[in-house]
């Protein structure tokens, strides 16, 4: 008997344990949950929030926009670019931010397609990252242009001069890919937002209600509306995945298609995508940790299990990145081209060799050392730290690929080290703008897709087969 009771107790505690651990098994009443999300959003910002917000706003205005004005008036000479480093940190940042934006789509689209249930509470946060990241990438690439005021020449528009953008140029592909990506990811951000905005509309007053009213497009939650919305989201989830892959592949072609030692590498496409996911996952985990730590009720929605799941993904991606890095290195080295040899040696033993080793440490050693352990993996701050480290490492990777690699070319008479100038404050400005947009978003739209969580919770239940408590998930679609 006692044995039975013990078993029953154990089952009971196991069940509780499961509920505590998994959001999907720990449902709250729908009304309560909606309220929690609304409260987290409507919570009156503290003075700390405003302090940070004000500081970031200052950084954005001064470092990003004012300095950009200076850059436009005085020319690219304000930046550290020169011969042979015609490309500098602006393009590092472009690639970096496009990389960050990749994780958003990966989480919300790929994981949706593959029905990874742990994605549910943070698809919105990830999608925001995509859009906000792309904004920074766009800014960065325009900062880089010598005559940004004629940027529209890069767009195909009919004109009497019969001049068109050059479709042979990887930069034109880039522009098309990025604009496509920005448009589609914004739409893909918006579609799942509709039910939540509708929810917010029903629970708010004043100007907010007016805005949500417009954004909700009159969504009432009828069966027909849901069917259409689901269909649309499914289509987008499938459609946006190849866009995401293509975008970073095309970004990699900016380099891979060039005639430069160290750049002409056939493996750059997948290498860049994996790199993008690597930094993107790192960024996502940081965002989640911050949301969880600073916003009300978020410890309910974002739990250790999520960090654990993303941590696993990060570990796998880190391994994939290591594979591609080694593969690229191996092929470049084995090629035996004397300039490439020189370049590879310069990466390791040049004045910025420390950066190369730091990159390997933060991108490979650190994730592998920490993320293998399930307990450590469930610790938001630890995983968040790894996320930051990976992002630093991935930024280094792009720095090594761009300004450090272009130092070495086939004309040794021109080799020169790059010293950044105005790029540094402007780069910091983009980071500030990214955070600033996030902070604004956290107060304006529900960061948690409530309906998606509720949907998941409806589909999950604990069933007992004999003594065993088993999680069962029903098919919704």
């Amino acid at each position: 008997m006692s044995d039975n009771k013990h078993h029953a107790d154990a089952a009971q505690s196991h069940e509780e344990h499961l509920r505590e651990k998994h959001l999907m098994l720990d449902p709250l009443p729908r009304g309560r949950m909606n309220e929690m999300v609304m409260e987290s959003m409507m919570e009156k910002p503290t003075w700390k929030f405003w302090l940070v917000f004000g500081f970031l706003a200052f950084v954005v205005v001064y470092f990003l926009f004012y300095q950009w004005g200076v850059l436009i008036v005085k020319g690219q000479g304000e930046a550290g670019v020169m011969r042979p480093d015609y490309w500098g940190i602006f393009l590092v940042n472009t690639v970096f931010w496009i990389g960050i934006s990749h994780a958003g789509t990966f989480i919300s689209a790929i994981l949706r397609v593959f029905k990874a249930e742990f994605r549910r509470p943070f698809t919105r946060a990830a999608e925001l990252m995509t859009t906000f990241g792309l904004v920074q990438a766009g800014f960065s690439i325009f900062m880089h242009m010598g005559r940004v005021w004629v940027f529209y020449w890069l767009l195909p528009y009919p004109n009497q001069r019969m001049l068109w953008p050059n479709l042979h140029s990887p930069l034109t592909w880039d522009l098309l890919a990025i604009t496509t990506y920005l448009l589609s990811s914004t739409m893909y951000l918006f579609l799942p937002l509709i039910p939540d905005v509708a929810m917010a509309r029903d629970r708010s007053t004043g100007w907010r209600k007016n805005i949500y009213k417009v954004l909700a497009l009159g969504f009432r939650g009828t069966e027909g509306e849901w069917t259409h919305l689901r269909a649309a989201m499914n289509i987008f989830a499938f459609a946006i995945s190849p866009v995401m892959f293509s975008v970073h592949t095309i970004v990699s072609w900016d380099f891979a298609a060039a005639t430069r030692p160290g750049w002409s590498s056939t493996i750059f496409g997948p290498y860049f995508i994996v790199g993008a996911l690597h930094s993107g996952m790192g960024a996502a985990v940081v965002v989640l940790a911050v949301i969880r730590g600073t916003m009300k009720h978020m410890d309910y929605f974002v739990r250790g299990e999520h960090f654990d799941a993303i941590g696993k993904l990060m570990l796998i991606i880190s391994m994939a990145w290591a594979y591609f890095f080694f593969n690229d290195y191996m092929v470049q080295w084995y090629g035996g081209d004397k300039w490439t040899q020189q370049l590879l040696h310069f990466h390791e033993a040049g004045p910025l060799g420390w950066m190369w080793f730091a990159m390997l440490f933060t991108n490979i050693v650190l994730p592998w050392a920490i993320l293998w352990n399930p307990k450590w993996r469930a610790n938001p701050w630890l995983v968040g730290f790894v996320g930051i480290a990976i992002n630093v490492g991935m930024w280094f990777e792009r720095y090594i690929i761009i300004p450090i690699s272009v130092t070495i070319n086939r004309m040794p008479f021109t080799w020169r080290m790059y010293t950044p100038g105005i790029e540094v404050p402007m780069g910091i400005g983009t980071v500030a703008l990214f955070i600033l947009l996030y902070m604004a978003a956290s107060k304006l739209i529900p960061l948690i897709p409530v309906w998606e969580v509720q949907e998941g919770q409806m589909a999950h239940e604990l069933k007992k087969f004999g003594r065993e408590t088993v999680v069962s998930v029903s098919e919704l679609e």
Binding site: K74, G75, Q76, G77, E78, V81, M82, R83, P84, D85, Y86, W87, H144, M145, G146, R147, V148, V150, F151, W153, L154, L163, W164, P165, N166, H168, S169, P170, L171, T172, L175, D254, A257, A258, T259, R260, V406, N409, R410, M411, P412, F413, T414, R416, T419
Partner: protein, 241 residues
């Protein structure tokens, strides 16, 4: 896109205008550099920018060292300028068609007014001979009196490079046409070749077997730089010695 059967061997003449530079007699005196700057309204950038790789020279003279003291030698001076490649790497990468191949003159053109300043062309140039206007470099009055009216004065944010003195090509062609004849070999030359005290630079039509430049470039020991990249450069170098 070039199909494999279209790829020409670099020994075949593909260009129209070409140059032969004899490194054995080039003394590195910089007369060509100065002549080029004067002819083409090239701006000076000042000590700091010049030392930081931002000088605007369209032609530079490279020299390296061989051996250690006392058996040290300067390698033959190597004037490096735009090689006016027949299959240039700078051209396809420009998103705005600002650097295009002139079908008429077989030169790599840089259309300043179309340039948006992505600097991809310069990045992709294996010879690193393109110069970017990093700033709006000022030439105080009355220095602008010297501007050559036949050459556009470039401002901030555009790429520039050697044009093989295309303004002289046009002028000579215009003159020849008005006189109802063809441009003769040696009738005109580029500013660098004209100034060179050592006569180390010869310019002319490489597609005319009679011209001095094509006869010289067919001499056995001429070298074209980085031709293994398939750029089909139109400048032939003699290392000599």
């Amino acid at each position: 896109m070039i199909r494999p059967e279209e790829i020409k061997m670099s020994t075949e003449e593909t260009g129209k205008w070409g140059m032969v530079i004899d490194q054995d007699i080039c003394t590195g005196c910089q007369a060509c550099v100065a002549a080029c700057a004067m002819e083409n309204n090239i701006t000076f950038v000042g000590e700091e920018d010049a030392g930081y790789g931002r000088s605007m020279h369209w032609i530079r003279i490279e020299r390296f060292w061989e051996g250690e003291y006392p058996e040290v030698k300067m390698t033959p001076q190597q004037p490096m300028l735009c090689q006016q490649c027949g299959h240039a790497t700078c051209e396809p990468v420009c998103p705005a068609f600002a650097t295009v191949h002139s079908q008429a003159e077989q030169l790599n053109l840089q259309v300043y007014n179309r340039c948006v300043g992505t600097r991809y062309c310069a990045n992709n140039c294996p010879y690193q001979v393109r110069a970017f206007n990093w700033r709006d470099y000022q030439r105080p009055e009355p220095l602008p009196n010297q501007f050559n009216p036949d050459v556009t004065v470039r401002r901030m944010g555009v790429m520039e490079k050697c044009t093989f003195c295309i303004q002289r090509i046009h002028k000579a062609q215009d003159k020849a046409k008005s006189e109802g004849r063809e441009v003769m070999d040696g009738e005109f030359t580029t500013a660098c070749a004209q100034a060179c005290p050592a006569n180390a630079i010869v310019f002319g039509r490489v597609d005319n077997p009679e011209s001095l430049v094509s006869q010289l470039s067919h001499k056995g020991h001429g070298v074209k730089h980085l031709e293994e990249l398939g750029t089909l450069p139109n400048v032939t170098y003699f290392k000599g010695g």
